[in-house]
């Protein structure tokens, strides 16, 4: 039994949102996908100095949530944070350069893949330790409430994070403070290799909200319109002073925990294929065509534009030099 509320959308919602919004969601997801595919390629060529935890398969979550954020809102992301930056509009060239540890990167190559962020675009920080951003988000919410009422923070985390103390301490604090924090659980069903079925006492992470008086919602995390709509409804209340909420998005990562992990030792081929068939990007494309909201041509044009942007970004990042050695001791107290 689930305490959290499932939010589902019908075809009417697609029509109501209209071609403009849907195509923009499509473009964001396509950009996230292509960016990550190219990062994975660069990783395989040995150009990424760290692990690269790519987001392929989960695009609907980041795209649907971030499309509801406005100027002054924040995102706190995780080790799997490249695509959230893409969704928030962070320039792809500096993002890619950062992942490659290059001087033109967002943090001059110091933070790398797991700490990509740009507060100017609303991505406050990427917390590479599972769950640590959950209490940090409670404090961001506390400060936003006082300094910029009406603004919110979206805190992304995976299913695995719901088992660490930070999740529980953070949710409790956000709840007693009525902090405007949207906790977005990207339930991709595996914490590295361990299935949620073996690690977690509940089927739905959102159900854990009720222990902290935090309302829980669940959506099909491969349906960008469902994610968008659920987020819109939750944030509408949150901006008016409702406290935190937890939105669990059921999804799947196609690749392993990171690019170097084939992800096959702990998942069956059938399971992976089953989820690939539920590709959030293809799914929206099919709907757009089916409902006559966009033509093949319009979609192709978007894809071509994105291809070019991504290619330019990767070229820029590859060509960018590493930071000079004399930067090592900068910015240390």
């Amino acid at each position: 039994m689930s305490h959290a509320k499932w939010i589902r959308v019908s075809d009417e919602k697609f029509v109501e949102l209209g071609a403009g919004k849907l195509l923009s969601l499509y473009e964001t997801m396509y950009r996230m996908r292509r960016f990550e595919e190219e990062i994975a390629n660069l990783y395989r060529k040995g150009l990424v100095p760290s692990s690269a935890h790519v987001y392929i398969g989960q695009e609907a979550v980041g795209a649907g949530v971030c499309a509801n954020l406005e100027k002054g809102d924040y995102v706190l992301t995780t080790h799997r944070g490249h695509a959230h930056n893409v969704a928030m509009g962070v320039p792809l060239n500096r993002l890619a350069a950062e992942i490659l540890g290059k001087v033109d990167g967002l943090s001059r190559g110091r933070g790398g893949s797991m700490r990509v962020c740009d507060p100017e675009y609303g991505v406050l920080y990427a917390c590479p330790i599972v769950g640590s951003n959950i209490p940090i988000a409670a404090g961001v919410g506390l400060a936003l409430k006082r300094l910029r009422p009406g603004k919110v923070v979206a805190c992304f985390f995976g299913d695995g994070a719901s088992n660490i103390g930070d999740f529980h301490e953070g949710l409790n604090l956000a709840s007693i403070w009525k902090a405007p924090v949207l906790y977005v659980c990207e339930n991709n069903q595996y914490a590295l290799s361990v299935s949620i079925k073996r690690s977690t006492s509940v089927e739905n992470i959102a159900d854990r909200g009720c222990a902290y008086n935090v309302p829980g919602y669940i959506v099909d995390g491969n349906d960008v319109v469902a994610v968008y709509e659920a987020t819109r409804m939750i944030l509408q209340e949150m901006r008016r002073g409702a406290g935190p909420a937890i939105l669990e998005c059921k999804t799947y990562r196609w690749l392993g925990h990171h690019v170097g992990d084939p992800g096959t030792a702990y998942r069956t081929k059938e399971e992976v294929e089953e989820w690939k068939a539920k590709c959030p990007i293809k799914r929206l494309k099919t709907k757009l065509l089916e409902l006559g909201l966009a033509s093949e041509d319009e979609i192709r044009q978007i894809e071509e534009k994105v291809e070019e942007e991504v290619k330019e970004a990767m070229d820029f990042a590859v060509k960018s030099p590493y930071p000079p050695e004399d930067e090592l001791m900068l910015h240390i107290y």
């Binding site: 967002l106 943090s107 110091r110 940090i136 988000a137 404090g139 409790n172 910015h331 107290y333």
Partner: protein, 318 residues
């Protein structure tokens, strides 16, 4: 010292409305040792926040609030409980500024009551500065007088770095002069608490008064010790120590953390690197023995260095 700390908090909260205070029992109760007494009444529950018992949670939240524009001062009831929020301090507070190439700042102060004196035993009496001294990106401060406590806390609150501020329990009720009116004491600068030409004693935190007591007794025997209180332990004011040692040619370091891998070890190594030729004797260390602190007073008292221990160490190298 408690009143001096309270004044520092009050003045900084009056000066800058971004300063907030949070922690266990800091509001209605005013802190278990009353350091935050009266702040709730003056500044209200938005700025003086009683938290649940949730160190990792509220230290993490303080980091978030700091990233968003507030300047949180967090109270950790016992420094031992820093173990409960080590992740947020070590992996986030200390890292974010550097890892983002200076784009982000985490201006938090984590105040923690430190050390023995209540007979509470090994997990309520530690002096855990050394846990954090190996973490670049933090500032670590510990005052030994009421005047220093106020001036250093004010500077810590104004500093953009994350600061761990260790308040020695045993000095909480010590009285001492505090200047009238506004003043601050800069971080990173040592204070020479006593001048002398025969030996340098570097004393940390609650060991400062003991070192001074030892110096007075030694003076009666004709040994003039210089007593340096670094006040900020990281970054250490190496110039003050090195230049003093170059003059006195002898050094004793007094701390009350366990001796092994301690502050004294680092100071001794640094002095060897930078002033080896000036040393007329090996550096002597006075520190706590490498044991947890037992409750029984008969044993507990053996874990804290005394003025007599300092005198003995001085005499061993003079």
């Amino acid at each position: 010292m408690i009143e001096a700390l309270n004044e520092a908090l009050r003045e900084e909260m009056e000066r800058d409305e971004r300063v907030i205070v949070l922690g266990e029992d800091v509001g209605v109760l005013g802190g278990i040792y009353r350091v935050t007494k009266g702040l709730l009444e003056l500044f209200g529950p938005e700025r003086v926040i009683d938290t649940p018992i949730s160190e990792e949670g509220f230290v993490g939240a303080s980091i978030g609030a700091a990233l968003t524009g507030l300047r949180p001062v967090v109270e950790i009831m016992y420094a031992d409980f820093l173990a409960n929020c080590m992740n947020q301090i070590v992996n986030f507070a200390s890292k974010i500024h550097y890892m983002t190439a200076g784009r982000l700042k985490v201006p938090i102060v984590v105040r923690a009551m430190v050390g023995h004196g209540r007979g509470h035993g090994g997990d309520h009496s530690q002096v855990p500065m050394t846990w954090f001294l190996n973490i670049p990106g933090l500032k670590i401060v510990s005052p030994a007088t009421p005047k220093d406590a106020k001036g250093l806390l004010k500077s810590s609150i104004r500093d953009d770095a994350p600061v761990l501020f260790f308040e020695p329990y045993i000095l909480y009720r010590v009285k001492g002069p505090v200047p009238e009116g506004e003043y601050t004491i800069p971080l990173g600068k040592a204070d020479t608490k006593r001048k002398g030409d025969d030996i340098t004693i570097v004393a940390i935190s609650a060991m400062v008064p003991r070192a001074l007591e030892a110096a007075e007794k030694l003076s009666q025997e004709g040994i003039e010790a210089e007593v340096i209180d670094p006040m900020t332990i990281s970054p250490m004011d190496w110039d003050a120590i090195i230049s003093s040692v170059k003059r006195t040619n002898r050094l004793v370091v007094v701390e009350y953390s366990p001796k092994s891998w301690g502050v004294g070890a680092e100071i001794a190594a640094r002095v060897m690197e930078e002033a080896f030729d000036y040393l007329d004797a090996p550096v002597a260390r006075v520190a706590a023995p490498d044991v947890p602190i037992p409750v029984s007073p008969a044993l507990g008292k053996l874990t804290v260095p005394t003025a007599e221990d300092v005198i003995k160490a001085v005499k061993s190298i003079v």
